[in-house]
Subunit: 131 residues, 4 copies
Amino acid sequence: MILKIDFDSEQPLYTQLRDQIVKGIAAGSLKEGESLPSVRQMAEDLGINLHTVNKAYSILEQDGFLAMYQRKNALVQKLPLKPDKSFLKKLPNQLKPIIAEAYCRNISEPEFIAICKDIFSSFESEVENES
Amino acid sequence: MILKIDFDSEQPLYTQLRDQIVKGIAAGSLKEGESLPSVRQMAEDLGINLHTVNKAYSILEQDGFLAMYQRKNALVQKLPLKPDKSFLKKLPNQLKPIIAEAYCRNISEPEFIAICKDIFSSFESEVENES
Amino acid sequence: MILKIDFDSEQPLYTQLRDQIVKGIAAGSLKEGESLPSVRQMAEDLGINLHTVNKAYSILEQDGFLAMYQRKNALVQKLPLKPDKSFLKKLPNQLKPIIAEAYCRNISEPEFIAICKDIFSSFESEVENES
Amino acid sequence: MILKIDFDSEQPLYTQLRDQIVKGIAAGSLKEGESLPSVRQMAEDLGINLHTVNKAYSILEQDGFLAMYQRKNALVQKLPLKPDKSFLKKLPNQLKPIIAEAYCRNISEPEFIAICKDIFSSFESEVENES
DNA sequence: GTGGTCTAGACCACG
DNA sequence: GTGGTCTAGACCACA
């Protein structure tokens, strides 16, 4: 599992880290029960501040992706099969502005769906291949 | 065209306003050539500061959704038929973290696609019905 | 002499009008002693406000391009052969930021000169042909 | 790199600052990757408001001259070798009124070209000499 | 009346 | 300490 942080991105480092870990879980390179490097180790590996890693881990814990033990050891959690209701409510609100802009920019529904399917399949295929 | 601003949201006011207007254009309630309220009027209507509205308008102008003139109100612009390449490149990056999380939360691809289609059709249907 | 005002331009109307008239003089379509339409007439012709025309005429008078008589009749003036010193001092300052940006954008000196020559020759050729 | 702001000029402060920085880049006193003072520092140095500097920096960022990050100062960017098409289209329109007035004021084409060359060479020579 | 510019001062997110 | 956001209030150019 290789995490890439783009220091030149406009996106905050801690959300980048969060997204990278979620992507890792989605792609299967991070499996249930697996443990992440300690906050200190991760910060050193990525060359970022300890507090930044801490913030990312905290959010992931709060969202149910991680369970923190001993203040430093982070274990990947398996999410319940039924999707969280609050997430189901949040999801369309996240998508709406994106789709609105895509629609204005004359991207057709099939084109958009194709892009989504591509991303989905990128997760599903990797599940089988990665360790 | 009713705009709603959520003062408790963590999302900046000016991006909320931007998104609302893009949604309005997508939904057809704002048509090409139509004019938006003046920055002062809009600010008063929403109960926010003039400069915040100005920033939203400026971004929309920069993105080609609006044209602003010193002597006229902001006018809704028609976007070119061909989607902007830079947007096509940005789009998957916007979607990837959202889909990754959805995938982790056991939302299936068909479910996700259905949500997208719902949003798409909400724009397409309103185009015909709204004034 | 046809004047074109672009109501959608970001440039103020009165400076557009001023520039158009200067271009007309440069191109020879407006000759020394020729009289421009009255402020009222010009405003009506262009569909702009009387004050806007007045402002343009005033600036042109101040710059020596026009002589105003009877408050309404504007005569094209011939400029002295020796260039105004204050203009010679102002000119490089006007050009410097433009050339600086062109240079940054990798436009070579010959390219730039070619563009200038094109514009120059557009004035010189028209002098002979226009009425 | 010394920046001069003329408070008595009719030109807006933020465009003055913008032009000064572009000139600095053209002259080579600001090199790729170099960082500009923070908005606060620059504002203090020039005796102007923080937001005014911010606006100048934002425009420069939008035009590709600077890259701004939340956690770093503004960094000078290298522009692509191929000139922007939109700039090539804008350039003659910027030059036309200036050349028209110069032509009216009996400045010959060679004189004008000489002035342009002077400005160009002022950039090219400094590139080698400055640190 | 419109938007544009500028100032002053505040709070927050980020690292 | 950085830039980002937001507010409040002022003056000016434009038409």
